[in-house]
């Protein structure tokens, strides 16, 4: 769902930049273009801050995220000034746990799930794509039909069904997200293999005795990298979205672990008038997904990747 449109404005911008600074390194070039694209730059800063907060949660969080304080239950956020306590900035939940601290600690799980999902789906996808592209014939047919089959169902639905069959858990969730995403990487790598195999310089290098492995690491993967980066940034967004959705329905991360999805799920039973239980975790999800989407748009524009 997070396939996005190419912003033509930025596309031309980045091309100009590329021409002007043709001699600069790819890295410097990318940084400059990122800085120029306001939305992507702000997103990058936001995500960087989030990672820092998640890594230093123990020192930053004002309270124990699991610390129950019955005397301070259901406190309002400070600025609403109705039955609030300045010790608890964003208020407390039904058990008196500090909402801000839970938000901060939940970001750890969000990052773990999202990054692992990208790594697993990327590795599986690259592997399948390489097999498909190099061996061809029936291997190719089987793998590509498998990908078609998987893309023939709404991926959130696959997630819900598989999670209810195998049970909830962190590993299970990562597996399920990877299951719904690997096909995109496989398709990219496969088409890159087929494209590269036909080129003259590769045929020449093969004639000189270059191995498949060399071919993969020298030609296929570097060429597929930009496309895979685009997919990866959208996978990150989708992973966060799915973690929240599945956890909300009790099928994701076990409820004892604070995650943004679980916080909204907890809020569901008691929220009647306690809007802040659900508001803040929802905002956290929205902004994080938004940031990854914007960053993905920028990667696509900057590297001029064609939408598939």
């Amino acid at each position: 769902m997070t396939t996005n449109t190419v912003s033509t404005a930025r596309l031309t911008d980045s091309k100009d930049v590329q021409e002007v600074v043709a001699k600069r390194s790819v890295w410097k070039d990318a940084m400059r273009s990122l800085y120029r694209s306001k939305a992507a730059f702000i997103s990058a800063i936001f995500l960087l801050l989030m990672v820092i907060i998640a890594l230093s949660a123990q020192w930053i969080a004002p309270h124990d995220p699991q610390g129950i304080d019955i005397r301070n239950r259901m406190l309002w956020p400070v600025w609403t000034d109705a039955n609030s306590n300045p010790m608890y900035l964003l208020g407390t939940d039904a058990l008196g746990r500090d909402i801000l601290s839970r938000l901060i600690f939940a970001s750890q799980m969000t990052i773990v799930v999202a990054v692992s999902a990208v790594i697993v789906s990327g590795l599986v996808g690259v592997f399948m794509g390489l097999i498909s592209g190099f061996f061809g014939r029936w291997m190719d047919a089987v793998i590509m039909r498998l990908a078609d089959l998987q893309l023939a169902f709404p991926s959130l639905m696959i997630g819900l069904i598989v999670m209810s069959l195998i049970g909830s858990g962190v590993m299970e969730l990562i597996f399920v997200i990877a299951l719904t995403q690997w096909a995109y990487y496989a398709r990219i790598v496969r088409s890159e293999v087929i494209k590269v195999r036909e080129t003259e310089y590769v045929q020449a290098s093969r004639a000189l005795g270059a191995s498949n492995l060399r071919l993969i690491f020298k030609h296929v993967l570097p060429n597929a990298l930009a496309s895979m980066l685009v997919v990866a940034s959208f996978t990150l967004a989708i992973a966060i979205y799915y973690e929240a959705s599945l956890s909300f329905f009790g099928l994701g991360i076990p409820p004892a672990i604070p995650t943004w999805g679980n916080m909204i799920s907890d809020a569901r039973d008691v929220m009647l008038r306690n809007w802040w239980f659900a508001l803040f975790p929802g905002l956290a999800i929205t902004f994080t997904v938004l940031a990854f989407n914007l960053l993905g748009d920028w990667v696509r524009d900057h590297f001029d990747v064609k939408a598939e």
Partner: protein, 312 residues
């Protein structure tokens, strides 16, 4: 023609695969006869049921029987409802359509004009607001938006019912009050996506030669945009629009659960959680068939609308 046949064949293969998965699911979660009679039944009763339901036959026979009956629209009996699966699914699909069809209509009504205005007045404040809202609409989890809407419109303002569906006999206006909130929230995701697509296709089309020609021959700007540019931009839009119905299927699982709407999505969700596998099997097959049908429809629309795309 060959292309179309090929696509239909591919679709049938996917449906057959979905059926196979569904069949395997029947056995993965445990003894299917046990699911009918419950864990407390005596071994004799269990054995009797197993024979009556045909679960004592060889797997391959059961498999072929399952595929054969499914092809005739028979998916067996629901563990939970104790009635035939297919009529339940049919009824729930109609209820889902009460939300899904107005939601898709709303998505079109909003996304087309907003996308065009956004593209024509590129980088104006209207464009920025529209793009920002579309981005947020794609990023905000729909179950959360649903909850916040219930909090605001039902708990705080008390103007809309928080969940459920009105009595079928009640006046139209009363029924509409129940439909309004889940319908609007269901439409947000396709609306956001389609608005962005509309904007970018109009931006592409505006630079085409025929639009320049239309301007050059002195047509009014309105005519250039709404007759020449829009009509061409609508071709990819309609294709994507058909595909968004597929997303609505997944979205309605979430939204119908949040709003306790007795539709297909909620049925599927409840059946998955309660491991009512016959319903899940039929539901999965329905989804696969709908999805493939929509994809085919989108393809056909595309070739129909754009004569430049020749039948491969």
């Amino acid at each position: 023609m060959f292309y179309l046949l090929n696509r239909i064949l591919q679709g049938l293969i996917v449906i057959a695969a979905a059926l196979t998965l569904a069949f395997l699911m029947l056995f993965v979660i445990g003894d299917p006869a046990m699911m009918y009679v419950g864990p407390d039944a005596s071994p004799a009763v269990l054995e009797e049921y197993r024979r009556n339901l045909g679960f004592d036959r060889p797997m391959i026979v059961q498999y072929l029987d399952f595929i054969g009956s499914a092809a005739q629209g028979d998916f067996g009996v629901s563990y939970r409802h104790r009635t035939d699966v297919v009529p339940i699914i049919g009824e729930r699909l109609l209820r889902s359509a009460e939300l899904a069809l107005p939601a898709m209509l709303l998505a079109a009504i909003v996304s087309i004009p907003v996308g065009v205005i956004s593209a024509v007045h590129r980088n104006s404040w209207i464009d920025y607001v529209a793009r920002f809202l579309a981005l947020v609409g794609q990023a905000a989890p729909n179950f959360w938006v649903g909850i916040m809407a219930i909090l605001f419109f039902s708990s705080t303002l008390g103007i809309l019912p928080s969940s459920g569906r009105a009595d079928p006999g009640s006046p139209i206006l009363e029924q509409a009050r129940y439909i309004l909130m889940p319908m609007v929230i269901l439409s947000l995701m396709p609306m956001a996506y389609l608005t962005r697509m509309m904007r970018s296709t109009v931006l592409e089309v505006i630079n085409e030669d025929y639009v320049r020609t239309a301007r050059a021959k002195g047509l009014s700007e309105k005519k250039v945009i709404y007759v020449h540019a829009l009509r061409n931009a609508l071709i990819p839009y309609i294709t994507l629009y058909a595909l968004q119905f597929g997303w609505i299927l997944a979205g309605s699982m979430v939204i119908e659960s949040v709003f306790a709407w007795p539709g297909f999505g909620r049925l599927l969700m409840d059946s998955i959680r309660m491991l009512d596998i016959p319903v899940v099997a039929a539901g999965l097959t329905t989804v696969a068939a709908l999805y493939i049908g929509l994809n085919l429809l989108a393809d056909m629309l595309y070739t129909l609308l754009d004569p430049r795309v020749v039948n491969r």
